[in-house]
Symmetry: D2
Subunit: 348 residues, 4 copies
């Protein structure tokens, strides 16, 4: 059994890691930290998990030995885990970091969106953990920066169109991502903006053309395509707990049909067990991926306007965070890639 | 008191007309028809309205005299009210038709999207009832085709950019409307697709680039701009009862700032009491228009990508249907335009 | 126009008072205070109200003169407004206090549930503002303690059974109130327990047999019946924004039928415009009172078990708080009792 | 691998059986029937399950051979599967029937609530499948009548109080069950009453003191206690997809404390892996059992009124239907009782 630690285990991504690892055959959670819930058992903090982690009690940040675990999930807020992650890497530990701290390769871009970086030397070392695009690097990595939720949905929806080489299918300056996220994406802190009364029966855009996931999306698309790509990105807040639906608009350079592009996607993802390309005429619903690591993709060509509309759906806490983190761990350690991630979605 | 009839009064638009007219000073509802609820009182069918329409009982379709009312709201499903509306017009009655039957000016387009038209001669006669754009025609009209819900949100969000004459601000081929609607937009019939279990915690696109409101939107934008305009339109189903948020993407021809475009909108709508242009940096939430006839508009220029993002919010049953129908009635009859529509939104 | 002040105007009850008074013919809101939003306009804090209170800006607690208003709504948290309310009464102002500070007549009971009382001399002066039971006192009052939300639903559901004199219909020791409230009842402060993710798709009881509204309910029932009454009270948290449904179980002493008890209720409430006793076989839904000042009541005798089940529904922000406060103001000032409260419920 | 058939597989209980069996180690689903979706694959009908049942296509009712499966789940509507179930039993098949057809032991009671019974001879043969109370009988059974959702939550919440022998703890005439269910309990058929718009933001009681689950509850309680027990039962419709919370009121005969009764419950359920008795002062939330087979129980003595309040929470599709059906199958066949049921709840 691989001994695993969850640093910052009392937010939604920590909770979801605990849920997933409770069903993982080859992993034992030996450490879970939480400033807020220090001294409380997992079942006290998350009554849904009562009975799954007997004896596991949340410890304060420094109250465990690095020897207690071999692989560390860091689920701390952005900016708070950099130094500790550095120490773990120096100590030869494997790390999957769920924060945004090591996703961006450019220190300049990081500064612009998140502030000062405290461990810039490590940026190069980190592998961007989107398995469907960078599996080979992840296999060899000891340090994985787990992608953001919006960037996962957007990149998986766009990647097949952007492959390097050959004639370009699309106008790279035309990409618009209209994304809608469930409330758990905002984290587990109490805030008026995410209170039930303010969210239920509501819907709004926020951080219009100014969300810090945009540069992360652009970085991935630029790497995949080999050119600099800029996108218009508008996030919205959905009155649901989980799920991101990304409706992506792309100007087509070639007169391709819906069927031809679907074939391209099916071929691109043919070996991927977590990508489901839907049949022509059907489109994803976040319900159908709820609680699972799937990314469902549907698409249609708007022939009249020479535009392609691609729609992807993920569960933001799963493929958009903790599910992908477990997938990355599985790849890094040589476990079966889907171990702990096989349960069917809880669609209603 | 103006005597008013509601034909097809037991759907959500009929219910909403009853709610609004219960508070209208100068109107008395004398007739309400419903095949399904024939013989039942308003309070039995809609317990929320118990106490408001004493003695008003739903009658079958032919069980009243045209003399019983001076103005008729027709809230029948598309295609079902054409002949009766023709008879009303011939009989000199005023009519506000909430169906799609008389919105499109082109018989060919109507056929393509809705099927055979049974009263084509009346198409020219009908005035398209979007007061902020066509108030002068409505004032003189005896027959108003009340706009669709999506077209109202989209047209109000785009109109200020499309004024005829002068240098074009935008690329007319660039318009993308990503719209999200509450479930009441699908009507009051029982269907698996709109059942609570299938909708709650879900979110999906539907009729992608193939919704019949697209030609209605294009017709209005073409009239306003004086050129043929084609749009990409993607509707989505929100897990809320009411509200449409339209996120609209437009390619800019000129390097205008957010503030300059906000000024343009404020100026365009300066005399409109139901349009609220929001301050820079704030964006609409469907909650803030809930139950009211407002259209809230916010916008931002994405300078990096030379794109404008306009976001409009309406209540689909109000400004998107029954509220606008009452507004049209008020204009047609010379009542104060906001009579019956002044109540503040019920935002939570 | 009566000049009115709202002290503590930025919570949900303050917001709801603003919404209601925006449509009140005889009132002008001259002062609204908020520590948190000091200096902001009403429309900035509540975008739904943009356009309704031109020029009205939230002031800090002490930044206005008592002369600016004739009647004061105090919507401060429990314990925070006692001294100020005392000053207002001394200054000859009319006050409707929406907090719990002056509802309980017994200082001992107050201490037990809320802590030290800072203005005990005023307790006797305050009239308990449940108009359907104490209208005559309210008419003469200058100081009204507005009832709690749960106590309003429970007392209105039980009062007709408890009239003094005659043979007792019910076993006074048998009363059980199983109440379910929407989230706005918890106020507008940010808290994990009322966040969307924790509430949506959830349902739970809280403060089981230990909620501080129980003594308030018991006080009212004891006054109405003339005997000391004790109740079992279990509140639950519903995943809705507004509404309280109280399912009340009462042991019957006499073998009365559902119809006979419905008659008793209809007779008891025959002059009440905000109480709707529903027909036999129909039961209230919180949707049907949403946004309105109604209390809907349905009931059924469980003959096999000699029990009566009474179900009442109110909107907790309306009849359970601000709507009732406006009703009390109307009664105190001699306005029409329903002024500002006539709008039909926004039932979907 | 045990070959298993699902008869009537396209409702919510059928869908949930498919979800659970997709993760069961020792079972292969060989047959799934559906009149409505005949000829469609599981993934087409339930896109969430795309990828889990390759090649499994819904067949019409008579289009398979009884030899294709060894154990049959019958998930047909009440009254529709009686004859077929009889044939299966005669053919030596094992059957778990999720309908109400064989739950009640009294033909008279069945007739009163459901209508004519078409296979009365089988009533005695059927074992009532509540494992925590009747495990020994289930072990030996070839035919299990799977309990109703409300009866499961109620019986598990009450059973420890009702054990035969010894001094009675409670007044058996005092039991009141105030139950609240999610919408999936109403099944997957389209109906106005369960449409999103009518349910969201709503809450109501229905079939007050007249629901057909009451006699099933009374039958179980009477068997467990050895005396005839009658209960008052009020179901309510919650705006959630899944979950039943039952708040149960019981008159106490002895002055027991909360801690003493909690001990009694812990002792009664000490070997039960699906019952979680919560610590003093904490109460169940349906969120914490969502998607799982758990029944969470919390309780409190209302000492002032000599009443016990017990609260139980289950997922109506799991412990209230399909999860319990799989548990029953596991017991009947000698599989590990929790096989296929170990996944932690998906609590948000």
């Amino acid at each position: 059994m691989l001994k695993v630690a969850i640093i910052g285990g009392s937010g939604y991504t920590g909770m979801e890691l605990l849920r997933l690892l409770s069903g993982h055959k080859s992993v034992k959670v030996t450490v879970a930290t939480s400033r807020q819930y220090r001294g409380k058992s997992v079942g006290e903090v998350f009554p849904s998990l009562k009975g799954y982690f007997d004896g596991l009690v949340f410890t304060g940040p420094g109250e465990f030995s690095k020897k207690d675990a071999e692989l560390f999930f860091s689920a701390l807020p952005h900016g708070e885990g950099m130094e500790f992650v550095s120490q773990l890497i120096s100590a030869g530990k494997r790390v999957v970091d769920l924060s945004a701290d090591f996703r961006l390769k450019s220190i300049k871009t990081y500064k612009e969106w998140y502030g000062e970086h405290k461990a810039p030397a490590l940026l190069k070392h980190a592998v961007y953990g989107l398995p469907e695009l960078f599996r080979d690097e992840i296999k060899k990595a000891d340090f994985v920066a787990n992608p953001g939720c919006y960037p996962t949905g957007a990149a998986l929806g766009l990647a097949p169109l952007l492959k390097k080489g050959g004639k370009p299918l699309i106008d790279p300056a035309s990409i618009i991502i209209d994304a809608k996220s469930g409330v758990s994406g905002a984290g587990r802190g109490a805030a008026l903006d995410t209170s039930f009364v303010e969210v239920s029966e509501g819907f709004k855009a926020y951080k219009v053309a100014s969300h810090r996931h945009a540069p992360e999306i652009e970085q991935t698309l630029s790497i995949v395509s080999g050119k600099k790509i800029s996108v218009t990105f508008t996030p919205h807040l959905l009155p649901v707990s989980r799920g991101i639906l990304s409706t992506i608009y792309i100007g087509l350079k070639k007169g391709l049909s819906t069927v031809e592009i679907l074939d391209l996607y099916r071929s691109f993802y043919k070996d991927e067990q977590f990508i489901r390309v839907l049949p022509e005429g059907t489109f994803p619903n976040i319900l159908n991926v709820r609680g699972s690591n799937y990314c469902d993709i549907g698409l249609k060509v708007d022939e009249k306007n020479k535009r392609l509309i691609v729609i992807s759906a993920i569960d933001n806490l799963m493929k958009g965070a903790s599910g992908q983190a477990v997938q990355n761990m599985n790849i890094m350690t040589g476990f079966s890639e889907a171990e702990g991630l096989k349960a069917a979605p809880l669609c209603v």
